[in-house]
């Protein structure tokens, strides 16, 4: 295997998710290369050596400053072709998923996504891909090289195993269409909003609440349980609740003792942020909601009926 791992960077740091994939790749095969593409990334590229990269390629160019996929596809396509890489690995994120798919199209390559494991069987790479709300696990493969793989977010932890890696700088040549999209406002860390990561109990709400005002129901239950309130992307995107409280792939990862999901369908991107919770209680009126696949207690019913009663009963118990 001649593998290349795409490393995402943000504000002078290499993203944990992509370092996790790098560590995994290095555990499968010692000779793994990594690539980082951004502006001012030459200085941080060498750090990838600590997580298993034998070599790191750095495409460092102001045109790569914004976290947009298309210029990165140009960089990777050239590197994969020139370097003869047979495997390219990505850790899922908004940026990396778009880079991976663009690269697959550019190279006419196979991309397997949402993988929760990578294995070498008799020297052949196999991906493990959950399907149908994770109710079945498929072994997926590639008929041809290069093999592209996108790993589900939060799957592999970065493991420190080596020292600094040798960094090789890449010349950056971009397609005209790749630079047409531009970033006019950069994401910044949200300072306002409550912190949910430390809470022992989380009561989370989704679009099933029906309207923003109904978060009050969850706040009362959370208060009774001594916990915090969290939300799905659907309601955060809609402006119902602050981004700081969002759980999932593009929000927080939490692992409280108790997670009560109210009116949440349970999409994979939500699941990856809360699957480490001790006990998961889900209240959903749709008996087929995906969240019931991984809830410890699945309540089929109307949250508007159940949540206020729950609050009352918990208050009675806890005095």
């Amino acid at each position: 295997m001649k593998a290349l791992v795409f490393l995402e960077d943000h504000e002078g740091e290499l993203a944990r998710g992509s370092l996790g994939v790098l560590s995994k790749a290095a555990s499968l095969d010692g000779d793994v290369a990594a690539v980082v593409a951004g502006s001012g990334v030459k200085a941080i590229a060498g750090q990838a050596g600590r997580f298993g990269a034998a070599r790191v390629y750095a495409a460092d160019d102001p045109a790569l400053a914004a976290p947009l996929p298309q210029p990165r596809v140009d960089v990777l396509a050239k590197l994969v072709r020139d370097g003869g890489f047979d495997t390219v690995l990505f850790g899922a994120s908004v940026l990396s998923a778009d880079v991976a798919a663009g690269l697959a199209a550019r190279l006419g390559a196979g991309l397997n996504w949402d993988l929760v494991d990578l294995q070498l069987r008799d020297g052949e790479l196999v991906g493990i891909r959950p399907a149908l709300q994770d109710s079945v696990y498929a072994d997926v493969g590639w008929k041809d090289e290069p093999r592209l793989a996108l790993v589900r977010s939060g799957t592999f932890e970065p493991v420190e195993s080596g020292g600094e890696a040798e960094v090789e700088e890449l010349a950056v040549e971009l397609e005209d269409f790749s630079t047409r999209a531009v970033m006019v406002e950069r994401a910044h860390a949200e300072s306002e909003g409550p912190s949910i990561e430390e809470a022992d109990v989380i009561v989370a709400g989704g679009r099933g609440l029906g309207e923003p005002g109904k978060f009050a129901l969850l706040e009362e239950l959370a208060k009774a349980l001594g916990g915090a309130v969290a939300a799905t992307r659907a309601v955060v995107d809609a402006g119902w609740y602050p981004y700081a409280t969002q759980v999932g792939q593009t929000g927080k990862t939490v692992a409280p003792k108790l997670y009560v999901a109210c009116g949440i369908s349970g999409a994979i991107q939500h699941k990856v942020g809360m699957q480490g919770s001790g006990t998961i209680v889900a209240i959903n009126k749709d008996p087929n909601a995906p969240i019931f696949e991984y809830a410890d207690v699945g309540v089929v019913g109307d949250l508007h009926q159940i949540v206020p009663k729950l609050t009352e009963l918990v208050q009675e118990r806890r005095g």
């Binding site: 993203a15 914004a66 994120s93 908004v94 998923a97 778009d98 991976a100 798919a101 663009g102 199209a105 550019r106 006419g108 390559a109 196979g110 991309l111 399907a131 149908l132 079945v136 696990y137 498929a138 072994d139 997926v140 493969g141 590639w142 008929k143 996108l150 047409r180 999209a181 531009v182 970033m183 994401a187 860390a189 349980l225 992307r233 309601v235 955060v236 995107d237 981004y243 792939q249 003792k257 999409a267 994979i268 001790g278 006990t279 209680v281 019931f292 991984y294 410890d296 207690v297 699945g298 309540v299 089929v300 019913g301 009926q305 159940i306 009663k309 729950l310 009352e312 009963l313 118990r317």
Partner: protein, 259 residues
Amino acid sequence: MKLAVLVKEVPDASARTRIDPGSLRLDRSGPAALNPFDAHALEEALRIRERTGDGEVVAIMMAPARGAESLRKALAIGADRAVHVTDDALAGSDLVATARALAKAVEREEPDLVLLGQQGGDSDGAVLWSALADLLRLPVVSQASSLELAGGKATVKRQTEYGYDVIEAPLPAVVAVSDAINEPRYPSLKGIMGAKKKPFDTVDAAGLGLAAGEVGEAGSRTDVRALADPPSRGDSVRIEDDGSAAEKVVEYLAQRKLL
């Protein structure tokens, strides 16, 4: 303004779907529906058409013959025209093979804006737009939670792992929208009746100028080798609410000392 909306057919959420153990493909024989995530892309296109007062919305779907029913639903909701890309030779297409077929179908339309949903309800892929845009050589923005068109540009607000940012792309462009961008409308009775009279174009692989080796299983570079049960997650409890669900939940939590 010409708007192309890519819509997918997925197994109906209420149906118990499975993977066919023989072909290792999704068994699509059960009831099907228009991908709920794509209703948001269609809604956005209809609102743009309504706002600008002119424009055409073309719904494009690649699916087996039976997909026509779901595609008609897009017409009933409000699309002006439908293009059904269908051919046995397309069966088993992976990401890139699917993108190739859809790119050809989009190219024929020369749209100003190509809209997609946030993910296939069946595949959780959330990747097609970027492959498509690369083949079309157009700018792409995904996860749009708001979309504005002005001065020949699309301005998109989107959420990433680091918060919200704003991206601008000149038209023509490819934009994939999040499921929070709008509240999709339902088809009206008038819409359902009117849909029967709207142009409905069916095209096969050869009609799009696709060679046999580019699409379908032959054009795909990934495959599924085997299926297994997921790791067991222990016992779970199911409660159908008959008015006593809250008591049962509290009982459960108390037993596990979670109160």
